[in-house]
Symmetry: C2
Subunit: 200 residues, 2 copies
């Protein structure tokens, strides 16, 4: 590998982001078993070059978690106004945007969370973020049930249903056929599982 | 391995079913990468014994597909009476029964369908069954939209949503925490995504 492949300044930052983006994509598909070779291939760079930017896949994964903790949609939803249902729609709209990275990050989280091979420091960081996301959904469901915009019933069951539905959709959004992507479900369909009956 | 480990008559059939059951479970978790060693471990038998019943994991997988093609719930739903929504509820109730094998078979199908390593003869058989299942859901959605028991709108989008939701639930049912299993969503929650608004 020629040293000239390493770029400087803005170019260097662009290449870093490119490698991170390739890594997010392969971790979302293969989970923790993704290798530096997979990551380099996804980023369209040589493996040697990838190693000049990051010492290991652990370092890349850690940086992905740090990026995710700053995801704007999650920050915004905590501070925005509107009913619990409106804020859930905002959140899920972002999560299911096929052009965005939220969907890959969500799938990466679900896929790597139960992998025993994930190093414990990374696991702790991921668990913290996963728990923050679940708590956010949980508090929006609780608030929505109190104000009557979300159907009554076991809130844990609603949370499980929402998480399972989102996981299934993220898999389909990432691995599905073109037809699946053309007819990709939107937040409105997902939120029907939380809607109270119009005539109770 | 002692020859006495091979049982005869009814005992032999019980052992065959035990190995098939272990295989269904590991294929549902690991996909096609599951090995004979994984299958033997899940069935609590030695690998040598597993090989005395089945020459290869391909043979086991083929037999699982044959078993699945005779699943009673799928036969019954084709011939039973009731609205499209009632028949979908019947089907999904069976699919989401954590004590049943439908949930493992569904997950096994989704997980292995897109694996390039799956031998082509098995892939053809699986694709045929997957297509039959999708067609069944599709025809029930079409019928339900015609009779007004299912919400209007893009039927392909409803099908994708249903398949994604079921996939996410099957993963949760198989790999989820005890808490997830205690609050496992039921067919009623799933079918809300198809319900027409009470006041159109």
């Amino acid at each position: 590998m020629a040293t000239s492949e390493i770029t400087h300044g803005d170019g260097r930052e662009t290449q870093r982001l490119n490698i991170l983006s390739g890594a997010r994509s392969v971790f979302a598909r293969k989970g923790w078993s993704a290798t530096m070779a997979d990551i380099a291939a996804a980023a369209n760079v040589s493996q040697g070059l990838a190693y000049r930017y990051f010492p290991s896949k652990e370092a890349i994964y850690a940086e992905l978690l740090t990026h995710a903790s700053r995801l704007k949609a999650f920050e915004q939803v905590r501070t925005m106004s509107g009913t619990a249902m409106e804020r859930l729609r905002f959140l899920i709209d972002h999560l299911l945007d096929l052009d965005d990275t939220h969907i890959e990050f969500f799938r990466l989280s679900v896929l790597t969370l139960h992998d025993d091979a994930l190093p414990s420091a990374l696991r702790a960081q991921l668990e913290e973020q996963t728990e923050a996301f679940r708590s956010l959904l949980q508090s929006l469901i609780a608030e929505g049930q109190q104000t009557g915009v979300i159907v009554a019933g076991d809130p844990d069951q609603l949370l499980m249903a929402l998480l399972a539905f989102l996981d299934g959709l993220c898999i389909m959004g990432i691995q599905g056929s073109d037809k699946a992507k053309q007819h990709f479900p939107d937040a409105d369909i997902v939120l029907r599982i939380l809607q109270p009956p119009a005539n109770p």
